[in-house]
Amino acid sequence: MIELSKKIEEARRRSELNYFLYLNEKAAEEVELLQRAGRCGSLCGVALAVKDNIEVAGMPITNGAPYMRRIADKTAAVVRRLMAEGAVVLGKTNMHELALGATNVNPHFGPTKNPHDPTRITGGSSGGSAGAVAIGVADLGVGTDTGGSVRIPAALCGVVGYKPPYGKIPVDGVYPLAQSLDHVGFMARSVRGLVRILSAVGWAPQTLPTIKRFRFAVLMGVAEPTRYVEKAFWRAVEALEGIGGMRDEVFIEASKFSAARAAILLSEAAANYYDYLRSSISYMGRDVATLLSAGAALPAVAYITAKKVKEEATQFFNTLFKTYDVVVSPTTATEAVPIDEAANIAVRPKLLAYTELFNLTGHPAISVPAPVSGLPVGLQIAARDEDVLLAVASAYEEEAL
């Protein structure tokens, strides 16, 4: 397993990017043992960068918060399944504190730095995993996505980020943030590579359906993208048309959906972390302390109304998917911002506006790189049917990149 040793070495060499909170120095040894025992399956030696809110037995886990640090005594179901086929955990990755944020500027462990410009954010909250995949150290990033936390850093780091439909990937052994919105998701350098790995454990089809003609809708009116993002996005749309996509534009009023996602997120997160909120608030980052406190102060009528809006949003997109095979948008309304501007209040909605829609509805969504020569930009594709989604994303990747 020279390859794995090199990956560990490379992760150590690039430590200034701050992607790993823990490196598994025995990764190569573990795979060798599996090989010798003849128990290394179809994912033999595939290196996993596991977000630090996901348990791996014997390794430390912090949830991005040193006041929660402990050694995990079991391995999360999602990681167990991949390891059963021979994948190996290369390390645990830096993240936004408690996964409650989209910048990955962690006040305790430091920010993760964008692989394309280290003065900029990776995005988050699975930023360490996305970065590790982007620099080639990890083959698969395993993260969580409650408002876009897999797709956002994937977009800003120039890799693929996939959020399967709600409930598909087991969350056992994963710290809950907001159970109604939480998804486990994955990051890889290509759609084909992602599908190859996920199909080995039954989370993607062995063969993708052939897509020759399809109808897609561009989501309009959700946010105001920067000119740079807009330009890259429309180039990606042209590529979709180049593979047989027939385009329409659909305007949506997303502000109510966004408020509903926030109400559910903060109410559930405050309940999940209530003890820490009372005992450890002085140790928390200012953003996390503020958001959890807001969650504790929201009235029940807000949570229940938000749950109704969640149903409305799901119904709205289910109806849209009767006409369109997929809907698309930029993944984020901004390219990666400088780390020292990440706390600006305007950044958060620019990162979350497009992705959070599909946490509310639970539909599968993926971020794939748009054709750019500078800072990466993501194209988000969402669908009702995950096989169609992956097929369109894969065909797009061949055409555009």
Binding site: K256, A263, A296, A297
Partner: protein, 37 residues
């Protein structure tokens, strides 16, 4: 005015955020977004 309850509620819950005014703004923004106020 409508957000005045936030401060006393948090105090009763034993929660001491670093910036109560920002918490109030967040709560108000959500309630307005849901058309509850």
């Amino acid at each position: 005015m409508v957000m005045d309850y936030v401060e006393s509620l948090l105090k009763n819950l034993g929660v001491s955020p670093p910036d109560v005014d920002e918490v109030k703004r967040q709560v108000e923004k959500i309630l307005r977004g849901l058309l509850l106020i």
